[in-house]
Structure formats: structure tokens, C-alpha cells
Amino acid sequence: MPTASSTAFAPTRSVGDALLNRNRFRILGLTPDDIIKYFFNGNAIVAVVVLALITIFLFREGVGFFGKSQRDLRLYRLAGLEYVDFIRHEVDEHTAMTRDLNAARLAEFQKLTAEGKTPEQVTAALASFDAFANAFGDSIEDVRGTLSDLSDVAIATKTKARVNEDREEQRDMLLSAGKKEEADKIEIAPVNFAAETGVMKGTLPAFRKVNDQFADKLGAALQSSPHVADPKFQAKIDAVHAKARALIASLPQIEKNMENWNYDAPVPASKAVTSFLFGREWLTASFWQDWYGIVPLFVGSLLVSIIALAIAVPLGISAAIYVSEIAGPREKGIVKPYIEFISAIPSVVLGFFGIAVLGTALRWLSQTPALSWFPGFPMSERLNALTAGCLLALISIPTIFSLAEDALNNVPKHFKEASYALGANRFQTIVRVLVPASLSGIISAVLLGFGRVIGETMIVLLCAGNRIAIPDFTQGLGAFFQPVHTMTGIIAQEMGEVVKGGIHYRALFMVGVVLFTLSLVINYVAQRIVHRYRISIG
């Protein structure tokens, strides 16, 4: 080494070379540092681009739904299906009442049989009721006839319009292929909606008469209604009475609606959106009219998620508290990997288990007489929201557990020490210091668990019962034991069998968009909460 005095003003050669190394190892002009940087950069960019493409694709395919749906709804009105549905709703309401009466009769029948009466005695006891129920059921016959006649007309109109649409499409295809002659050969006779619906509306005076007769018959049937001894039975009959009276009272309004109905009234542009977001019916491949309302699916997803979280949150968080605060190192070494192992079970296997074991076991449990006081018991279906919810809980426990445990472990040790030093016991320390200090972490654990559950497909498809209907919440807790269908389930089930680009296909994509948005929001909120919490602790 040269002495300090001799090199006071210039760096030594070797140091200078090291600082200005111009002949470092390079590939294509890139140093190893650059290569590493671009490698990771590239990976990140690929991930971002793929995600963006997926999002764009999802939205592009989905948004087209609204245009198609709008046209569909327009045709629904033009062809007069909407008009016929006024009558259909009337008939449906009546049918629901008849069903109520039948259910009431069945209950009474079982009760009487259980009391030891012979079939003859039971039939005798129910004779006056049966007479009433028959009169009640028959009262609608003429209305039903009208409905069926008009349905035929409307469907015929709709079919014509559909055929025209297809031909138009065909012609456009030929034109764009340059085959003008062939295209000209295709005949398109425009449908005269005014005339077709005019015929239907012309039957309104006749329908008024039919409706009046219906009201009379129904009123007479109600008059003949017997008084029964069993108060429960009587209450059910009374409920039907109330509904029937309401129906009779609403008849003039129905007729008025039909009178005011106009095939040409414009369908507002928002109708497609509202009928998707707030539509209570998801009905496909119907001879009459398809409906793509997401509400039953959304409610189904929400219901199973609520059940799953109601089970998984207490279990997951308690397990996290146990592992992070109570368990010794050995128990920790057993419990933690075990819980985390659950997430390694393929969900289809859990689905099998749900069908083969859990569903049956739960139903068996619900049938034990000791539990019959529980609302909704015994369950009528083996596969229902509860079955799926229990399994989804299992799926989300590892997520909730791991994240909640992290949150608890992240609470600075000195909070815990301070609490113990003040004479707190373990329980007090956990409840008053550790959990509050990690609350935001725990909340985001729950949210991410929720995200996990709402996106799960296989289990709900296999175990939720797949009935597309909003559960009957008037049954209180019983709503949890009804079969439901979910947003994920419907996509998985129907995507395979739809025509690409068709309205049904696009509707499924829209469901996907809703699901995607929901997950995004959940994740975003969870991250915000964690972020806030980091700031407040750090």
C-alpha cells in the first residue's frame, strides 16, 4: 500500500479501476444485475397484463348481455307475452293458495292418522274440507283456459319474430360473404305486432266476464268453507281466505293494467340492467320467456357464505388464539400444520364427503324427534345451504386461522408483557389486549375467508342442492335448510351447455363480473383495514 501522503490527491490505480469498471461481464450489453432486474420486472409485467386481459375479456363478454337482454325484453312486450303474464300471475297466485290448502290437508291427515283413526274415518272427517278445496281449485278453470289460449297466440308471434331474426342473421352473413343472389332469396315477412296483439287485446271484454265468474265462484267457495276443530288447521285455512280475498280485490286492478297495456310502449334502457341486478328469477331454456335475474343466485351465495362464516369465524379465530397464545411449542407443532393441511384437500373431495356423509348425517340429525322444536327441522332436502355451508366453513378455516394467527403474532410482545405485569390473567390479556390490538388483522382475515368462500365452486355445486329460488325467509332459521344455487355454481353448471355468444352465455359472464367485482371489493377492503392497522400499531 502506498503511504497516505503520496496518494493524497489521486486515488490509487486499483481503486480507480474498481470504481470505473468498464469491462464488467455483460450479455447483450446487460450486466448480471440488469438481467436479474429485467427478469423479475418481466414476470411482474406478465402477471399484470394477464390479469388485465382477463378483466377486459370478462367485461367485454359480459357487457354484451345487456344489449341482447334489452332486445329480448322488447320482444317480450311486442309479442304480447307481457300481456299474457298479467293473467299468468293471477293464476299462479291462485295455484299457490291451492298448494297451501293441500299442504294443510296433508298435515291434518297425518295428525288424524297418528291419532289412530282409520282411513275411512279420516276421509269422513275431511269431507267438508275436501268439498271446499275442490270448489276452490275449480273456480279458476275458465281463467286458465283463457290463459292457455292467449299463451298460444303470444308464443306464435314470438316464434315468428324469432324466425325472422334468424333469417336476417343468415342474410347478413350471406351478404357479407358476397352472395347477394342467395341473400335476396331469403324472404322476411315482417311480423305485424299491432295486429297480433290487437287480437289478444280484443278478448279483454270476454276475459272480464271470465274474471267476474271466477270472483263469484271463488267467493262462493270461501262461503262454503267449513269450520274445523283443530285451531292450527283453521289458522291455515284462514290464511288462505285472506289471500283469496286480496286476490279478488286485486282483480279490477289487473284488468285495468291489461287495458292500459300497450305493445309499443318503449322499454326503458335501464330495464336490462335492473332486471338483471334485481330480477328475482333465473329461468333459462323456457318455452315462454327466459329471465336472468341474479338475485336468487346472489342470495344463495350469500346464504351459504353466512353459514360458512358463522361456523368458521369462531373456530378459526379460537384456533388462532389457542395456537398463538395458549399452546405449548409441541401442541403448536401439531395443530398448526394440521389446520393448514385442510386447505390441501381438493374441494371436490370435500364435495363427495358432503354428498355421501354430511348431507345424510345432517338430515338424520334433523329428523331426531328431540330436535323437532328447531325451526326448519326436519330438513326436507339432504343437500341444502347448510350442508354446503358446513363444508365451506372447513375450506375457509385455514385462511381465517392463518391470517388471524399472523395478526395475533404481530401484536408487539410488550403489550402482552405490560398486561401480565399488571396482574392480568391469560384470558384477560387475550380478550382485552391482544384481540383488540389485532382486531383489524382479524377482521381482514374474516373478509379474506369470506372471499375464499364466495369464490368456491365445487362444493356448492355438489352440495348446495342447486335449486334456483330465493329461500323462503319467512321460515326464519328454516331458510338455512333449503336448497339454493350460487353464482359460482351456476357458471360451472351452465357454461358447458350454452351457445357461445348467446344471451345465456353472456348472462353467465355477467354473473362472473359480479363475482369478480365482489371479490375485488372484499380484497380491497381487507387490505385497507390491514394497512390502517399497520400504521396505528407501528
Binding site: 405490560a418 405485569a421 399488571l422 396482574g423 384477560q428 382485552r432 389486549v433 383488540p436
Partner: protein, 271 residues
């Protein structure tokens, strides 16, 4: 059972430095972390209502001994007592019949890093009472005021009692922790380097506070700051490699230590 006051001490130098009733009595204490022995044969009698300073190089076991006094070491899985006794008020605190919870209420602790709970100032103080089941609002209000006055913090925070304790300055937070410790009315307060994260002004406030508190509480303070030990303690114990080397009146330790190692350490000629 031997009476603490008459027990013969193994080394003359380690006898209680003055006539005073003994609050904490450590007898032949060996302490291990796993296989590693952190304390060797410690014998010390800490007098009541005095300030006792623990000094010594890093890693010599000061904190370990301090944490033996309120059994905070119970929280460390691998920690265990090899042999020996720790008596407080003459009671062996490692006796199975001893209730750790009540022990810790008697022996308060202030940590090196101020650690108020992420709760309001008020809730920080009342925490120790609430876990005892005291919820009478009037009583709590009184205790909050008394403890904050005791910790010389009242005037600074009286208008913001319900704001977060984490919003205070470092020195204020440390005094809040002291207020929290005295709220449960312990007889002993253990302080593990309470000023190491504070600036000189905040430090002098805490030192003043220690002076005010010492009439009512027995205080044991761990410090790396020789001046601080000199300023605010009555007796000083010097530890080295897990052993108690010397325990005497503070003036004596700083002016005329009887052990060579002590002298080297306080004059900075250590190592």
C-alpha cells in the same frame, strides 16, 4: 425457614448496605435459559422504600434478575430456576401456593420501551383495576387523577384523557406507564432501563419522579447510565457475567468500590 434478616450472607460485601427492613430477599439463586446459566448464586437483600440500582455490562443478567421478582420469566418457555429462593415480604414467591396474579399486583413493572396499550390514556390507567373487577366510575376517576399526578403527568394530559395513549411523546408515554403501574398500588416498582429511549429532559423528569416515589415504594431500577444510578439511587448493585459482584451504598460504589471489577466498570476501563 431461615429468617432473612439474620441469615448469614456468604460474602460480607453482599450484605444489606444499611439498617433497613428488607423488601426483596434473594438467596443462592441460580437461573437458567435452557442449558445456559444466566444467574449464578445470587444473594441480595433489597431494602424497602429505597431506590436500588442494578448496573453492569450488557448481558450480565440484570433484566433476568429483575424479572424474577415479578415472575415475568414464567412467560419464557425455556426459563427456569435452578436453585435458591426469592422472598418478598418474607414469602417465597416461587412457592406453588403463591398466586402470580396477586404477586404482580404487588410488584409493578416499567419496561425499557414505553408500552402503553393502544387504548386511551384513561383506559391505560384503569386497565389494572378493571381486570380486578373494579368498575365504579367515581373510584376509577379518582385513581386516574391520583396516578397521573403521582407520575407528574396530570397537568399535561388532563384535557385529553380520552385520546390514545400512543399519541403522547416518548417521555410522556413512559410516565404514563409509571402511572399505570402505580394505579394498582404495588409496594415494589421494577424499572428496566426506563430512560434508555428518552431525551435528557424527559429523563430528568422521570428521575425526579423516581425521587418523589421512593418514600412510598421500593424501587429497583436497571440502568446503563452511571450518572443516573449515581443521581437517583440509594444503593447500587454491580453484576458481571451473571454474578453479583458488589452491592453497597451508591456513594460508596462510585467513590470507593471494594472490588476491582466494579471500579474498572464505573471508570469505563472495562474489557
Amino acid at each position: 425457614m431461615k429468617l432473612p434478616d439474620t441469615a448469614p450472607m456468604p460474602h460480607a460485601a453482599l450484605a444489606p448496605p444499611e439498617e433497613s427492613s428488607t423488601m426483596i430477599e434473594v438467596e443462592n439463586l441460580d437461573f437458567y435459559y435452557g442449558q445456559a446459566r444466566a444467574l449464578h448464586e445470587i444473594n441480595i437483600s433489597i431494602p424497602a422504600n429505597k431506590v436500588t440500582a442494578f448496573i453492569g455490562p450488557s448481558g450480565c443478567g440484570k433484566s433476568t434478575l429483575l424479572r424474577c421478582f415479578n415472575r415475568m420469566n414464567d412467560l419464557v418457555d425455556i426459563a427456569r430456576i435452578g436453585k435458591g429462593r426469592v422472598r418478598i415480604h418474607g414469602i417465597d414467591i416461587y412457592d406453588p401456593d403463591v398466586d402470580v396474579i396477586s404477586l404482580r399486583r404487588q410488584v409493578g413493572m416499567v419496561f425499557q420501551k414505553s408500552n402503553p396499550f393502544p387504548k386511551s390514556i384513561y383506559e391505560n390507567i384503569t386497565y389494572g383495576l378493571e381486570i380486578q373487577g373494579i368498575s365504579d366510575r367515581k373510584r376509577l376517576d379518582e385513581v386516574v387523577e391520583k396516578s397521573l399526578r403521582g407520575a407528574a403527568l396530570w397537568d399535561e394530559v388532563k384535557d385529553r384523557l380520552h385520546t390514545s395513549g400512543l399519541g403522547l411523546s416518548g417521555g410522556q408515554q413512559q410516565r404514563l406507564c409509571i402511572a399505570r403501574a402505580i394505579a394498582v398500588e404495588p409496594s415494589i416498582i421494577l424499572m428496566d432501563e426506563p430512560c434508555s429511549a428518552l431525551d435528557p429532559i424527559a429523563t430528568s423528569k422521570v428521575e425526579e419522579l423516581i425521587q418523589q416515589l421512593k418514600g412510598k415504594y421500593t424501587i429497583v431500577i436497571v440502568t446503563h447510565n452511571m450518572q443516573q444510578a449515581g443521581r437517583c439511587s440509594d444503593n447500587t448493585a454491580f453484576f458481571y457475567l451473571g454474578k453479583l459482584i458488589e452491592f453497597a451504598k451508591t456513594e460508596k460504589i462510585f467513590t470507593n468500590p471494594s472490588q476491582r471489577q466494579t471500579e474498572d466498570y464505573i471508570t469505563g476501563r472495562f474489557g
